[in-house]
């Protein structure tokens, strides 16, 4: 049985933090920040705003676009690496605030690849559970300090996607997921609550594994990269997105980018990108999702315009 993507939703906090504002805090210039990341500004949530607050907002937008009510959902997944508690994660609160009192609500605390893993699992689980709402929400401003290697990159926000066996705009074709735990210490947020990143290891692995997982899933579906309408990737860094396009042999315009405006919102970024792209584009053809992050976890998923 096929699974379909029906709609996306996004929520971004109102507060814009420009490179100029951040420059003094991290001891670098705004131009340096943009040159190493492509990021010009990011959003930070208010101190009292929680991961669940943003997740609920994105979920409600997604459900409104899909035209369904919460009581039609069969499962909720919430990806986040920046929730306030060890357990329960934000899935329980998001479920409660969506008035879901008995459907399973599952946390995916794996940071940047969380929404991709959520979509891939939802593709398989919707047949058994009914409509699955995948939410990703991050308050990364809570887990970075003044280290210029991380503080310049991250922003706050949330995204959501609805997956169903009912026919919708995009039929989900295939997904590949991978984990290599030997690198779990190279990108992590431990009990200190501060994100630590070995940027060299992350970039070196991501620059190869994102294109290779995309090629893997496209090869299995006999689709060439040039046939793809758009690549909706985890928005880690503009330089990385450009590099992925080059490795795939496609123009940079094929890789949707909004990291310049929102920074790296970890697991939320791929769904925020999907929400923005789908609002302004009606191009038909295969769409590819891909993400790489802490763990390392990575993979890719391909969908196609439904007939």
């Amino acid at each position: 049985m096929s699974s379909y993507l029906h709609a996306f939703g996004a929520h971004l906090p109102e507060r814009v933090v420009t490179n100029a504002e951040l420059a003094e805090r991290v001891g670098r210039t705004g131009d340096w920040i943009e040159s190493v990341s492509g990021i010009r500004e990011r959003r930070w949530a208010a101190p009292e705003t929680t991961v669940a607050d943003m997740g609920v907002a994105a979920a409600e937008t997604c459900l409104r676009k899909a035209g369904i009510s919460t009581n039609e959902l069969g499962m909720l997944m919430v990806a986040s690496g920046s929730g306030a508690r060890g357990f329960p994660g934000p899935a329980a609160e998001v479920a409660d605030r969506l008035c879901l009192s008995s459907v399973p609500a599952v946390d995916l605390p794996i940071a940047s690849a969380g929404s991709l893993f959520g979509l891939a699992l939802a593709m398989r689980l919707t047949e058994a559970y009914g409509d699955v709402l995948v939410v990703a929400a991050e308050k990364m401003s809570d887990v970075v300090e003044t280290d210029p290697n991380t503080a310049i990159l991250f922003g706050d926000g949330a995204g959501a996607a609805l997956v169903s066996v009912r026919p919708g705009p995009w039929r989900m074709l295939d997904a590949v997921l991978h984990t290599d735990g030997q690198y779990r210490g190279d990108l992590a947020c431990d009990q200190t609550g501060v994100l630590r990143m070995n940027g060299l290891a992350v970039i070196l692995q991501a620059a190869r594994k994102i294109p290779s997982s995309i090629e893997e899933v496209l090869r299995r579906q006999n689709i060439s990269a040039k046939q793809v309408a758009v690549f909706l990737l985890h928005q880690a860094n503009l330089n990385l997105l450009t590099r992925v396009a080059k490795a795939l042999g496609v123009g940079p315009e094929k890789v949707f980018a909004n990291v310049q405006r929102y920074g790296n919102t970890s697991s939320a970024s791929m769904l925020i990108a999907a929400a923005e792209w789908s609002e302004t584009n009606s191009e038909r053809g295969p769409i590819v999702f891909s993400a790489f992050g802490a763990g390392f976890h990575w993979g890719a998923l391909v969908a196609d315009s439904a007939a």
Binding site: V36, L200, A201, I203, L204, Q205, R208, N239, R243
Partner: protein
């Protein structure tokens, strides 16, 4: 020569000097460096060897190449 091509500056005289801590190469130059090594030495660096420490200095790159492509 590979390092000079990617960095746009002369390689360090000290073979043990870190190419990254010295600021000669940034994180995005590392994938380029590995790709250039693969092309120059007609070899494939497997994902399991994609460890920045293996390519951090001229000495370490020499050691890696000696072990994997016979120097």
């Amino acid at each position: 020569m590979l390092i000079q091509d990617i960095a746009g500056k002369p390689a360090p005289e000290d073979d043990q000097e870190s190419l990254f801590e010295s600021g000669l190469l940034d994180s995005f130059a590392l994938p380029d460096l590995v790709s250039a090594i693969e092309k120059e030495f007609a070899t494939k660096v497997p994902d399991s060897d994609l460890n920045p420490r293996k390519f951090d200095s001229i000495e370490r790159m020499d050691a890696y190449l000696a072990e994997h492509v016979g120097g």
